[in-house]
Amino acid sequence: MKKLICLLLCVILAAILLTGCEYRAESTVQAKDDGRVALSIYMWDRSMFKELTPWLEQKFPNIDFTFVQSYNTIDYYTDLLERGYDLPDIITCRRFSLNDAAPLAGHLMDLSKSEVAGTFYSSYLESNRETGGAIRWLPMCAEVDCLMANKDLFDRYGIALPTNYAEFIAAIDAFEALGIKGFQTDWAYDYTCLETMQGCAIPELMSLEGTRWRMEYESETQDNPVGLDNVVWPKVFARYEQFLRDVRFEPGDEQLNFSPVTQPYFEGRTAMIRATAAMAEEITEEYGVSSVILPYFGETAEDNWVLTYPICQLAVARHVEEDKEKSEAVREVLLAIFSEEGQRAAAAGSSVLSYNKEVSISPAPSLRYVQDCIDSNHLYMRLASTEIFAISLDVAQKMMKGVYGAQGAYEDFSAQIMHYVNPEAEEVVFTQENAYSVDFGEHGVPAGSSLMNTLRVFGGEQIAIGYSSVISSSIFAGDYTTQQIKWIMTYKNNVYQASYTGEEIRRIMDWLVNVKADGSNPVMHRNLLPITSGMEYTVTETERGKFALGEITVDGQPLDDDAVYSVMLLGADTCLEHPTFCNCPMPQDLKDKRTQVYEVKPTNQGGIMNALEKTRQLLPPTDYVTIVHP
């Protein structure tokens, strides 16, 4: 009898448990969220680390993120695949075209049926739709990249802000008459050449013929390349030739890079430069120079256009689909990134326009003079394939140098676009024997350490300190072309040299590691801990992404505060010192000591290029950091 009662109770218990299981099934996703999921996200630019990565880590405490600063082109990821590596879970790039993205298509998820794709305005996503219907890349909010005017200067001299091309030229003339450069820009960069070339002829490019050609070009295949249109593009080069003339381009200007252009602008010696709305906001706020964005002017105000492009495009690796937990995590992360809050974090306070229905970002004050363009949908999306960038630079530079005029430019551009070959991707510069991972290991990032060791040995300094993550990919065993060498080191790094005492080095490390009194955090993620060579240090992670500097040793011995060491400093000022990034200015006395070592034109990876010419190998890594757990 007892057995029977027990049996009945067991049956009832089992039924209750089974019922419970059914209810659990309803909350499967929640249950999975309880476990930790690892996600790797490659951010195209350091700016993404400012707000987006900390925000994501805070929002998803159950996800172990690995953020790596990668590169702005799709080629970077193609190279990963060609070297036999898997794509990271989420990738981003700045320079995007469907043509360039085609080799990655098989390795990326189709997001067209995803929830996040539903947050976009359909017409914006259509430009990213493949012929097969798949949508693998999602554009993040739009950056406005046009002409920037020092409104203070205009006001000071009573010159009205131009509203059309004629007024634009008139304004230049007026400033030139005052001894002020009317318009100048950093012609040395490929994007400047590309944007000014397209920007001055947007009405042509947006004409019926122009849009038809563009659609044809964007859907070209390797077997069926599309050359330049013979109706639209001659006009474009004619416009560009005129534009260069009208902005009073002078020989030698083609070598101008960022600082030689911005500095006079800050000082009121240049009235207008090419810049993004984000920069306009930044300059206004930080330098006190009231800057506003002006459009690329047409003959009438109705012909003015604003040049835009997504601050980046985002894709998800296909292998994520195989892991349901990861897939669910990615779904939530994408929804977060493309939410209003996420996009604000991604833009890091910059002035952007959203492509998403549910995101309402009011145009920044700097955009008030292009509001008409925005309202009338005169938003031109730059044509930004890798080859267009490269050829635009080459052709524009030749036009600037007077090698040829509009017709010659058209012909040369046409010829190059049909047979474009990246010379930097052709020649093997050296063959690396050992591979080193970009993943943070027990004592730092092996690939980063290898890079720093190589640079220090080349420079002959006792100590080398990388301000933050200076490595943008694993170091692979195998051949390296010039292009691939450039991908090793993160973008926008300057190399400095100075002699510092041990005490000063300790302050440098304090500046690079410790959270500042105002909360500014120079690290944010362990991947961004400074990479040292010839010197080791320990840190304690006090909170997630916040570190406190511990001991510093040189060759195993405590750093001698009184000793003097020759030091190589590697890093972009904008990353740590700039208020919009970390707001961690380097102590001025330390800053005063350093001298820039390498010329950074036309690219800023000169250091590694020069080092490799000497070492022919990226040297083995060393243990440079130890995270002490409290």
Binding site: L8, S112, G118, L208, I374, S376, H378
Partner: protein, 834 residues
């Protein structure tokens, strides 16, 4: 009890199972019906919404196409504005656009911009095709553009080649509005990849971004379900399904919008659609559940009542049983005792112990071993020691004597002890049954049986003695009569002697029959089958009958079939007696000139090992009346027809015959008619045998001489000895008489081997009887002839068992008195030949 509970529980479980199955089936049926009905209802409703949208599209197209020629012919821009504004009021479109070749537009109000129609601009301008497109300006709602080519013209100086009206996608919501379901119905327009372009969501389902992404999160759907919906979207097929978000279930119905590859979706919580049906279902389930509960309660009540009734009956039974047991335990002659097996503590003792053993029950409760102290002094067996050997479930029994503690008498008890486990404890249950009365009755019965056996033995002895004692003088009478006849007496004396002989023979027959019937009735006659040659039996019978016919004028017909196997197991002596008896009757009751028929035939038996021997004896004699036939086989029955005066008989012959036939398992029947004769049929079952060991019948000792034979005659009766000696010596036999067995043994031993050829040995003799004397002779080790000398019993002991006793004693043959000299001679010759 346990079984009953299990049965009840199983029955309840079965009933619950049946109810649950029924409810489940009902619920399933209702759910299916509700689903089908609801889906049909939803499809109809959302089809109407879709139709409204379709009408809007159709009307928009019509107007855009219609306006193009009007604009061409319009007199002024004011007319155009007036005309378009009027149309806007009618159709509620958002804006009216004049579109330039490059996609630029100007609104009626003069607002300009770029309308991104992508590849459709080319269709519109170059191909002159009307197009529908979606477009957007950042931070503005998406718009749906219905554009149609127009004759190039100018509006406010803006050169156009096409016109368009636009709707904000959000305005299309109105077209998809569904008033049913209390505002809980959400209507959407989606692209083939599931992205929602028009969101008229309601309730908890607003802001759906992609329907497939939503379905992806529904764990109840399979990948195949989702793939089927996606395929439907791509193909523009309509369909429906139920999906879940969290704990809420929704109906999804979809169908093609028939433009722009749009699909129109309807999403409504199932609870809203099924509200009334659910109420009906819930009410039904409630009612059914109520009925089920009431039924269950009813069943429960019935079960409880039945249980109570059963319990009452059980209680009553227990009461009666208890009362009965109390009565019995007081009044019966059994003492019941229950002891704990471990401690031998008394759990119960019936109160009658005081009456039966003279011990108060209280003493037993105090100490059960008291019962061991009332044993007789010489009884060494202690009951409690034996109890320890009884295992649970087993029992043991003893006969015990106890001294009654009050009367002091010895009483006999039959003790039965059981060992049983009661509620986990081993108990000994003892039943001390007082058998003192039984013992007395049993003793009396045993005495009666002994007396009866003694009486039986006395009767047998009497019969044997009377037989012996009658035969002995009869032997003398017959013997001396025969001797006298041989002395050639006068005719008158011969006649007297003959009458004496006939009378003695009749007397002898009468005595034999009386003794036979007495022995049969006392069970002394036993059927003793031996190996028999059936043909030899009939031959022997015929041989006897021929003797009867010697002085009669009767015709004997025989029809004797030849059996396939003559050797059977049967009692040849009884068969012969049966047949001789019937045939002798036929001879007796058939007048001269008549005939007698004797037939023997063989029929199949009950199995292969048996046959049925049938003898038929018919005569043409006096026959019998029907009345007499009824008691033909009764003892001493003779028909009162004066025949007794003619035919001598005891009236026992057929009674004996019938007894013999019955003994042999056979049957006898008779047909007779007065004055015409009788037919007797005897059927006897006999067992076939494969043995063929019957010795060939010795030829009769015709003319054999016994002269010179040296014969030792042991006979205590002088007369019999004289008769035998006179007749044997007349035949030349040298007779040496011994007066008893002892003397016979002495004479045999005292003479050299071979001094005697044969011994005739009486049985009942003083000093040493014939059996003992034979045994003594046979046992003589120093006499080589002791074992082979023929010893023939010659005794008044004439019964079959006497014959067997003689053979058992080592004798070679048995001859009954009165002696017949021919038989003696033949026996002597027969035995000396061997």
């Amino acid at each position: 009890m346990k079984k009953r509970w299990i049965t009840i529980l199983l029955a309840l479980a079965l009933a619950a199972g049946v109810i649950c199955t029924g409810m489940s089936y009902y619920a399933g049926f209702v759910s299916r019906t509700i689903y089908e009905e609801s889906i049909d209802h939803l499809v109809e409703i959302f089809h109407q919404a879709n139709q409204t949208l379709h009408n809007l599209v159709t009307v928009s197209w019509s107007r855009v196409r219609m306006w193009a020629p009007y604009l061409e012919a319009a007199g002024s821009e004011e007319d155009i504005v007036s005309y378009v504004n009027q149309a806007r009021e009618e159709t509620n479109f958002t804006d009216f656009y004049f579109i330039s070749r490059d996609g630029e537009y100007i609104t009626l109000e003069g607002k300009q911009g770029y309308l991104d129609l992508r590849e459709q601009l080319s269709d519109l301008i170059l191909e002159k095709k009307p197009v529908v497109a979606q477009s957007v300006v950042p931070d503005k709602p998406e718009i749906m553009v219905f554009a149609a080519p127009a004759t190039p013209g100018s509006y406010r100086g803006f050169g156009y080649e096409a016109i368009a009206i636009t709707y904000n996608n959000s305005d299309l919501v109105e077209a998809l509005k569904v008033s049913a379901f209390n505002g809980q119905a959400g209507t959407f327009a989606a692209l083939p990849d599931g992205r929602i372009v028009v969101d008229n969501g309601a309730g908890g389902r607003k802001n759906i971004r992609n329907i497939f992404a939503l379905l992806e999160r529904c764990s109840h759907l399979t990948d195949e379900d989702r793939a089927a919906v996606q395929a439907d979207f791509l193909a523009g097929n309509s369909g429906e399904l139920v999906f879940c978000v969290g704990s809420t279930r929704y109906y999804l119905v979809y169908e093609s919008a028939h433009f722009q590859d749009w699909m129109v979706l309807g999403i409504v919580p199932t609870s809203v659609v099924n509200a009334s049906m659910n109420r009906l279902q819930a009410t039904t389930l409630l009612v059914v559940s109520g009925i089920a509960v009431v039924l269950a309660m009813l069943v429960l009540v019935i079960v409880i009542l039945q249980n109570r009734q059963v319990l009452r009956r059980k209680d009553h039974e227990l009461l009666v049983r208890d009362e009965l047991f109390s009565m019995l335990s007081v009044n019966v002659d059994d003492v019941f005792l229950m002891l704990d097996a471990r401690s031998l503590r008394t759990d119960y003792v019936s109160p009658n112990i005081e009456k039966l053993l003279g011990i108060p029950a209280a003493q037993i409760y105090e100490n059960a071993h008291v019962i061991e102290r009332i044993l007789p002094e010489n009884d060494p067996v202690h009951l409690f020691h034996s109890l320890a050997e009884i295992r649970p479930g087993r029992q043991a029994e003893w006969e015990r004597e106890y001294i009654h503690q009050v009367s002091g008498e010895t009483r006999f008890f039959h003790v039965v002890a059981f060992c049983n486990v009661i509620q986990g404890e081993e108990k000994y249950i003892l039943d001390l049954s007082d058998r003192t009365g039984d013992k007395k009755i049993h003793q009396e019965l045993e005495d009666a049986v002994c007396a009866a056996e003694d009486a039986s033995r006395a009767k047998t002895t009497f019969l044997n003695n009377i037989s012996h004692d009658i035969r002995t003088p009869m032997n003398a009478i017959i013997g001396f009569t025969n001797i006298a006849l041989k002395l050639d007496p006068k005719a008158e004396v011969r006649d007297y002697l003959c009458k004496i002989r006939n009378s003695t023979e009749h007397l002898l027959t009468l005595i034999n029959d009386v003794l036979d019937i007495s022995r049969i009735e006392s069970g002394k006659i036993e059927f003793a089958p031996t190996l028999v040659d059936l043909t030899a039996v009939t031959d022997a019978v015929l041989s006897i009958i021929h003797g009867f016919l010697a002085d009669r004028n009767l015709t004997l017909h025989t029809d004797l079939a030849v059996p396939e196997t003559p050797y059977v197991l049967a009692d040849s002596i009884r068969i012969r007696e049966v047949l001789v008896n019937i045939l002798s009757n036929a001879v007796k009751f058939t007048q001269d000139g008549g005939s007698i028929t004797f037939e023997a035939s063989y029929l199949p038996g009950e199995d292969e090992r048996h046959i049925l021997v049938r003898y038929r004896i018919a005569d043409t004699g006096v026959g019998m009346s029907g009345e007499f036939l009824k008691r033909l086989f009764d003892e001493f029955s003779q028909e009162e027809n004066g025949a007794r005066t003619h035919y001598k008989g005891t009236g026992l012959g057929l009674a004996i015959t019938k007894r013999y036939v019955d003994l042999m398992g056979g049957a006898i029947s008779v047909q007779s008619k007065k004055g015409q004769g009788s037919v007797f049929t005897v059927q006897l079952p006999v067992e076939l045998t494969d043995e063929i060991g019957i010795q060939e019948k010795e030829p009769p000792a015709v003319g054999a001489s016994v002269a010179g034979v040296r014969l030792l005659l042991a006979e205590d009766n002088d007369l019999n000895a004289e008769i035998a000696m006179v007749q044997l010596e007349d035949l030349g036999v040298q007779v040496t008489r011994a007066r008893d067995g002892r003397e016979a043994v002495a004479l045999f031993a005292g003479n050299p081997p071979g001094a005697f050829d044969i011994v005739l040995m009486d049985i009942m003799m003083p000093e040493m009887n014939g059996y003992e004397a034979t045994a003594a002779i046979r046992c003589m080790q120093d006499r080589p002839d002791a074992r082979r000398i023929p010893i023939i019993a010659m005794t008044a002991n004439a019964f079959a068992e006497d014959v067997q006793a003689s053979l058992n004693a080592g004798m070679n043959e048995h001859l009954s008195k009165p002696i017949v000299m021919e038989e003696i001679v033949q026996a002597i010759v027969r035995n000396l030949r061997r």
